[in-house]
Structures are given as C-alpha cells and as structure tokens.
Amino acid sequence: MARDESTSPVPIDELNGGDASIAGLDDAPFCFGVVDGGLRVTYANAALRLYLGADPTGRPLADLDVAPDMLDAVRRAVGGASIAALELRRGDTHHLASVFPVKDAGGGLGGAAIAFREVTSWVEDRRRAERLQTVSAELSGAPRIASVAEIVLGQGREVLGAAAGVIALLSEEGDTFEIAAMEGFGERIERDWGSFPADLSTPMGDAVRRREPVFVDTPEQRAELYPQLSLPADTTSATVPLIVDGRALGALTFRFDGAGPIGSEVRSFVIALGNQCAQALDRARLYEAENEARGGAERLADISVRLAAASLPREVTDITAEAGVRVLGATAASVVIATGDELEVISSLGYAAEAVDRWRTFDRSHPSPLAECIRTGEPIFLESRADAVARYGDLAEAADAHHAWAALPLISHGRVLGGLGLSFATAAPLTAARRVAITTLAAQCAQALERAMLSNDIAIANQRLEAALLAGNMGWWEWDEASGRVAWSENLERIYGLEPGTFPGTYEAFLDLVHPDDRDALMAHASEGLRGDGHEFEHRVVRPDGRIRWLDGRSKVRRLSDGSAAGLAGIAIDITKRKLVELALRESDARFRGLFESGVLGVSGGCALVIDEANDALLDLVGYSRDDLGDRLLMLDRLMVSEDGSPIGEREWQLLLENGWLAPHEREYRRKDGATVTVLFAAAMIDQASGRWIGYALDLTARKRNEAALKFLADAGDLLSESLDYQVTLQRLAELVVPRLADWCTVVVLEDDGTMRNVAVAHSDPEKVALVRELEREYPPDPDAPSGSAAVIRTGRTEYLETIPDELLVQVSPDEKLLGILRDLGLRSVITAPLTARGRTFGAISLVIAESGRSYSPADVQLLKDLAHRAALAIDNARLFRERSAIADTLQASLLPPLLPAVDGFDVAAEYVPGGDGVDVGGDFYDLFSTGDDRWAVVIGDVCGKGAVAATLTGVTRHTARAAAIEDDDPVHVLESVNTALIRTETGGQLRFCTAVVGVLEPGAPSVLSLARAGHPPPLLRRRSGDVEEVGGRGTLLGVYDDPELHQVAVELEIGDLLVLYTDGVTDSWRNAGGDARLVELLRSLPADVPAAEVARRIRDDALRDRGGVGDDMAVLVLRAIG
C-alpha cells in the first residue's frame, strides 16, 4: 500500500533542534522520529520512545529494531521520496507508516521523518471482511447442508480461533433443535446431543426466540443464565440465530477458550457469518429437498420396477432393505416377515454383525417398534433419541449411533405380512417428504411381497403336485377345444416317453401319440365327454421308442361362467402294470391247468359218494383226519356245496357216472370245521360197474385271494382317481371294502386343529352305521389314545390284531354302556393302516371283522397298507389341485384392486373375467386410486405377454402407474413411466407390450377428466342424452419403443354422464357380432340413470354370451357422474 510521491521536502529546521513543541509532535498519538542524512536518529517523540522502550536519539537507525522495509523506505526518503501508507508487521502487531524527506538548514536534503502507528485491529477487521467475502463465495457453491455447516464451522474456528462450534436446525414444527454439525465439543457431547427441545433454556433457544445474538461473556453470566449447561469454566460463547426472510432456521454457536468479554470485532464477524450461513443453509435445504424429491422419485420408480419383477420373497425384502438405505437415506434397514407369533428378519443392511445375529428372530410381543407396528398395523416414527428412549427405554438406549427410527407394517389386502424398520444416524431425517417415500416403499414392498409369497407358494404347489403325480404314475392335462391347445404336466410327458417340455401342445400332436387302433374310439369318447360331463377311457399310447403303454384317462368338463363347455381337464394314469398283471393271471391259469393234468396234486379215490382213499394233501385241504377217512365220514355230499351252501355231491356223482369224467372246474369244498375252501376239482371213473373213481383237487384259496386282492386294488385305484372331493372318495372306498374285505370300515382324518374326525363309516347294515355315528358324538375320538386310529396317526405305523381280546374292549371303554355295545358288536379282528403322503400322516383307515367270523391274515395287512397308500396319494393329489387353483385365483386377485374406493360425486363399478387358461394369470388390469387433493387416477390396461412373464409385467405396469401418478398425475407422464418400466423389465427376450388408458379425474361441476391413451381401445362416454362418443387421441402402445407419442385430452363430465373403460377382451367377444359397434349400441340403448354396477354387469353378460370357446381376459370399469 506504500505510495511513493515526490514532494518538496519539509525544511529540517522546522523539525529539528529538539523543539518538539514547534511541531506539537511530542504528545502526538502516533510515533514520530527524524533521522539525518546519515540515518542517525535526531528526534523521537514520546510515543516512539515508549514504543522502543528507550530514547533512540543519536543512535543509527540500523542499530534499532527496525523492520527491513522501514529501513529501506527511510533510505529512499533521505534520497527525496515520500512514502505513505507503508504497512509493516512486527510479530502479531501491524503498523501503518509514512516516511518523507526533510531539508537541512541550507534547503538541501537533510534527512527523513518517520511517522507510524499500530493498526493491528484495523488490519484484522479488514482481513475478516476479506475472509467473509471468500466464505460467501465458498458457501454459494455448497450444495448440501452438511458442506455448508462444515465451511461455517471451519471458518469460525480458523478466523475467530473458536475452540468449538455447533449448528443446530429447527425441526419443521419448530419445537426441536436437531444438530446439523458439531466440532470441538468432544466425543461424549457430540454423541449425546442429537437434538434438544427448542424451549429448553439454552443460548440457541434464546437467540431464536429473541431473534438476536446471545453472547455469554463470563462464566458467572453463564451460571446465572444457563445453570444447566455444564461447560468448562473458562469459556465464553457467541450464538447467533440463523434467519432468512424472517424465518428462523436454527442457530450457530461458537465457544471460545479463555475468560473475558468477546471483542466487538468477533461479535460482528459471528453475526455476519451467521447471516451468510443462514442464506446458504436455506439454499442447500431447498436444493436438497428438490434433489431428494427428484432423485428419490426416480429411484423409487426404479425400485418399484425391481420389486414388481422380483419373484422370490427374499428378493423383495433385499430390494426393500437396500432401497431403505440407498434411496431413503437410512443408516440401516431391516425387513421382517411374520409367521404366526414369530418375526423373522429376512433381510437387513447396515447393522453390526452382532445385532444381526441377536435379532434373527423375535417374538411378536417384543416391546420394539417393529413388533409393535406389526401388532397394531400402524406406522411408528421416532423423531429423536429422547422420543425413542421414552417409548422403548433400554432398547433405544443401546442403539447409540442412531437418532431416529421408522417402523412400518407391510400390509397387503388387509393382512400384515411383516414390517420394515429403518434407523437413521443423520439429523432430522423424517421430513414430511421422506415419510411419504417411506410409506410408499412399505406399501410397494407389501404388494410385491404378497405376490412373491403367492408365486412361491404356487411354484411349490406345482412341484408338490408334480411329485405326487409322479408317485402315483399320473399326469394331468387340459384341453381347450376352441384353440385346440393341450397343456400337459411334465410327468404326463414322461409317461408318453417325451422329454419334459417337448410336447407341442396341440390336439393333433396328442392324437399322433395314441395307438392307431385306439385313436377313433378315443376321439369319440372325448367329444362325447365334452357334450356330457367328462370322459373315461383306457387306451394305449406308442412311445417314440416304439414301446406301448396302457393309460387310463379321465376328465371333467371345464366350463365358462355361462355354463358352456370350454374343454376337458383331467388326469391320465399309467396302468400298464395292472394290464400286465391281468395278462399274467390269464397265463398262470393256463400253466396251472397243465400242472394239474400232470397229476401232481391232491388225490382222492372213492366209490360212489364215499371217499375211501385220500392223500395227506387232500385231508389237509378238507380238514379231516385219517381216522375220519376210516370211519367213512368223507362223503362227496358233505364236501361239495354250491355257492348258496346246499349239498351238490349227489349231482356231481351223477355227472361223473354219466360222462365217465369231470373236466377240471372250480368247486367249493366245505371243510369239517364248516369253513369253505375253493378247489379245482377233476375226476374220472375207473370202474363203471363198481362205481369207483379217482379225483384230483387243488387248493385255490391262496390264488383266489391274490386274484381278489389284485382285482380289488385295481377297482380301488379307479375309484380313488374318480373324484377330487376326498370325502366322497373315502366314503366310496369304505363302501368298496365292505363286505368284500371287512364287516366294518372306518376312516378317520386329522383336522388342521389337531382334532380327529371320522369321515367315512361303512357297514352292510345302515343301522349299525347310524350307531357308530351316534357313539362318535357321545365318545369323541381321543387323539392321545394308546391304540387304534389315534395311535396309528401319531406313529404312522400299521396296527394289526388277529383277534381282539376282551381286555382291549375294557381298556378302551370309559364306561359300562360303551363296553356293552362293543361286546354286542362281536368285534373279532382288526387292521388299522395310516394314510401317509409326502411324509405326513393325516388319517387312518380301519378294517374290522365281526359277525362274518374270520380273522385277518398278514396278507390282508399288506393289502390294506397298499390300499391306504393309494388312498393317501389320491387324497393328497385332490388337496394339491384345490390349493393350486386357489392360489392362482388369489394371485390374479392380487393384481386387481380388491375394492374400488368411494369417489365423491361418482358411482363406480368394475367387472373382470379371467381368460381360459385356468391357473395362468391374465394380463388385463384396472385401478382407481386417489392422487391426493380430491383427484383420482383411473387406469385400465392390457399387458400382452405369456404366462408368468405376463403376471410380472402386469405387476410392473400397475405398480409403476400408481407410483408415477402419485408423484405427478399428468396422464402422459404416467404412461411414459410405464413405458420406461416395461422396457427395463427383463422378459428373457420375449416381446411384450401393454396398451393402457390413464385418466385423471377432478370431481366438480362439471367434473374434468384428463386422459391419455396408449394403443388401447378408446373409452366410451355416454352422455345423459344417449349420445356415445370415443374419448382420447391415439398414442403409441407401451413397452416397445422408447419414444412413445402420447397426447392428452380433457373432457367435461356432467351429471348423468357415463364413462366406460374396457379391454379388447370385451369387444373381441363380439368379433363375429359387431365388435366395437356392438358396445356403442349397447350403451346408446341404456335407459338414463342405470347404476354403474348394472352397466358393467350388462356389458360382461352380453360379451360372455357371444364369446365362443375360451376367451381373452376382459375388464370393464364404469364411472357415472352423480353429482
């Protein structure tokens, strides 16, 4: 700043000579001295003497402690130059000096005069002002609250030398300070002071309340004003409110070490810094909010696409936890799924490993925010540590890194599936915008989770069904007559000898695989089945390797909702084994005859009716002894009985006598003990005159029994596969068993609640069945009984009693009455076998012999076990079929809104009819929801894709439309968002698109509907007058092109006007009956003021009537303005 000027030198004699008073300089408030031409001091005023601590007069200037700059300046002044405003620094002090030449007595240059003063505080002020300018520039470039705070605190500490600094922001409600940044207070304070109430007596609180700075200059002052603040003794503080446009954002405090009042320069600097800080914070806050809104919405849209595409529950929870941290800014996030009373953490992010281990599962009753929100179904937001500690005590205390928490229940269709927990370590995270985002994330997670859980269930159900079918050598199929499509389960493909997935899926392809000899009959059966109620037919198929398999096919007609037949659905069982057994039986019969003819077995000889010779085999067979033979007790008359038990020995003898021989034939022999045995008997006359003959007999009992068992199992197998209603199946089974195998048959099943229920009872006497039913009411089955059905269900092991001892009856009878009844029933022998499928025993079947008097043999036990096994598989299959279709229905329902919301001024209704694919989920959807402020979004669409992909795309479309409309309900924006989401959705190369209409309705008088259409049939607007018009301009369908052309139009809806949105499934039903024009005509012909529900129903019914075969999905959404 030094200025060199050429001035005329001051005459030295005016200054020289020790007469300081002349110049009045000795008392001047600045230092003043004069040097001669040889730079020797000739004069020093009082201030200079004080400054140097001695009188320098007479000493050379160079010997004094003079700054080199000064020395240099003096030299130049002696040479004639004047130098003004020379800045000099000496340690921490600053000086401003002027040096000019003085004349000697002769008028020549005689030396120089020096004047200077200390300007330290002035220089500091100026430096601060400059610094403030720099700070201002830095702050204007700081985009975030955190960076603003960092700059401000850093400058305060550097420029002011503050020991510590803190910036706290007021919450939206203005009742809490949240610490935004803090430096220099020490770890403990910085950890504990997350937030504090605004009304607490603090410098910050006072500064904001009074809207003026608060300076605490002494410890005494602090003790008096803020007794509760425990700060080190020798400190002072300066606090300024942060105010922009009259709004208080918070406060800024610096703490200084050392006692004593805070200088005015510091005060003004803090105030200036506070002003700049407030401006910058306000900007940063706006910037952050905007950024969060824009970035958050974009990323939430991404998340919603990812959620909708997730197919496993675990994927959904992982994506949600990740979104909680990466998108919503939480420090940690976890997602739990509720299973009964247990809550299981499926995904978590950001928590310490010990915490994750500790909280893998916990109880629903646990006193934590997550458990509580799941119990109550209400979200919980904890704004501060104080809030959390007050409500959850130790739990919150332990989480020392976190300041705020959010816990939200995951609710879909009214069911709480689990919860989402977020923890925040940043200050003031739960802004209104963030809460909306958190709530949206939870809602999307819940929807996606429900869908994924259902998809998971359906996949498991399908696998189980396949496994069960595999075990039973069965496969299922569906045939849609109209399209000729035939769907097969994988196992059916295996039965046909095809690789899974290679069956072409057409009726023709199926017929090609059928044995040529059976083809015509099969086609006849199938078409007859279609006209009736289904079909049953055994036929052969030729596998690609040429091998022939026998199949038993049965089906039921599949009907549309109007009752017309759409096709057949059924199962096919590989019965090749049974057929082979039948063939083997025939063969063994022939072999046996040969064996007999070789004369190997039982031999008897006799004369007329008396048998007097017999080998041991024959005696064993008929139960007589050799003595009986001697006593001539063996008579043909006594042995041979007809089926009704009358003696026929005489007749046989006459035949033998007449023909000379009896060809081998089956005959019942009555044993000595009264029982009958089946034998194959043949005889020949030896001597006609004496009446002597010889006979052969073979015991057929064992073979008979095997034959009966095989026949029985074959019958039972047929019966079991007939019905998908297991109660009917079991009752028929019980009836099949009685009286062939038992006098009694009962089937008990275990209900879900652990009780046992007798589902089938059979006895040839209906009165006895009634008696059992009555006894069951009086003596309910005890699940813990030590023997009988309960024990078999518990252990899964078969129980067999060849004879039932009386003690057992006594043991199982709680009173004399029951004992009496049981004894009267004369129970003799019992077998109870478990009904077990997929490792689970769910019932037991018991066979009992009473009045018929025989006992069960181990062979019977094997037979019953076999029967029970087949029955269990059949029942399990039936149950899986039911489960699978129920899941498909639910999955479809989850893609549609469960109930339309009530819209003020409108009567709304919808109809939806799924397409013909049974368990597949269709692509039509509609939605109606509030976008806030009494505005409503109405959406209808049709996603075109196949199978599971279509379901995913429908989910993506619907969820994206919702998320986008809530973000910005401009219809074109919503459609563009859906377009982007669909293009991003992975479909494995499959082409897909969606047509849709999005409308936004503002109810009023008149109501206004803004609408955009993407490749979808135009909604129809039927005016009260009866005129019908199409609404909305054309737009590119979605999901194919990334630059769709979309237009928005607006129409006014007056009272009585009717808006109908529909999918092409409706008009395609009338493809041969007028198409689109048909719908226009239908609406035109409606009387005025028909309720929306009635309009929707009429459209549906009319379309169903004309839809031939299996149709596409159809959806109709009707809005009627009612004012």
Binding site: A482, S483, G484, R485, P504, G505, T506, D942, C944, G945, L991, R992, F993, T995, A1014, G1015, H1016, P1017, P1018, R1034, G1035, T1036, L1037, V1040, Y1041, P1044, E1045, D1064, D1068, R1071, N1072, G1075, D1076, G1108, D1112
Partner: protein, 108 residues
C-alpha cells in the same frame, strides 16, 4: 370360426406370407413354423388383407415377426388389413414404425 392358415409364395426377391382367417393365439404355432423358414429371405411380406380378425396376441405375433426379420438385417413389409384389423395397428400408432403398405406391391 375360420381356422388360421398361412399361404406362402416364394419369389427370387421376396417371400410372401399371406395370413388368412382369425389372427389370434391359435395362430401362433402356425405362423411360427412358417416364419422359421422364411426368416432368411431378404424381404418378407406379411399380407394381412385376408385376416378377418386380429387381437392383441395377433399384434404381438406381428411385432415379434417384424423384430425378428429386421433383427436379421432383412426387410419386413406389412400389407395392411381391412377395417378392424388395420385399426389395431392404427390405435397403437404403429403404422409409422412398421413398414405398412396399402396393397400388395408388384415387386420389392
């Protein structure tokens, strides 16, 4: 109901697939098998003038066919259908994105 069929004409310059009948889900296997062997043709003409009905599945098959042909670096020309059939294409604003012509051209 008219079953869907494809009539094929091979020329040195192009292959014409004339789609006849109702173009919906039932058409998929028929069209796919014809298309498989026509993909190598430098110009494929899909003639919709004898299609009596087309639904969104028909449209999907058409877009898929177009994408596959173009994906092979070949040209796919669509001869427009009648009334309701063309409307399906018009409604989706596809006429400008596909190469749709009014009638069967004389040569490529």
């Amino acid at each position: 109901m008219q079953a869907f069929t494809v009539e094929r004409r091979d020329d040195t310059d192009w292959t014409v697939l004339e789609l006849v009948g109702e173009f919906d889900l039932a058409a998929e296997p028929v069209l796919q098998s014809e298309l498989a062997s026509a993909l190598s043709s430098s110009t494929l003409v899909l003639d919709l003038s004898r299609v009596t009905f087309m639904d969104s599945t028909g449209l999907r098959l058409l877009l898929e066919a177009d994408a596959r042909v173009r994906g092979n670096g070949n040209r796919c020309v669509i001869v427009r259908g009648l009334g309701s059939v063309h409307r399906v294409i018009e409604e989706g604003l596809l006429a400008s994105r596909l190469e749709v012509v009014e009638r069967m051209p004389d040569s490529p």
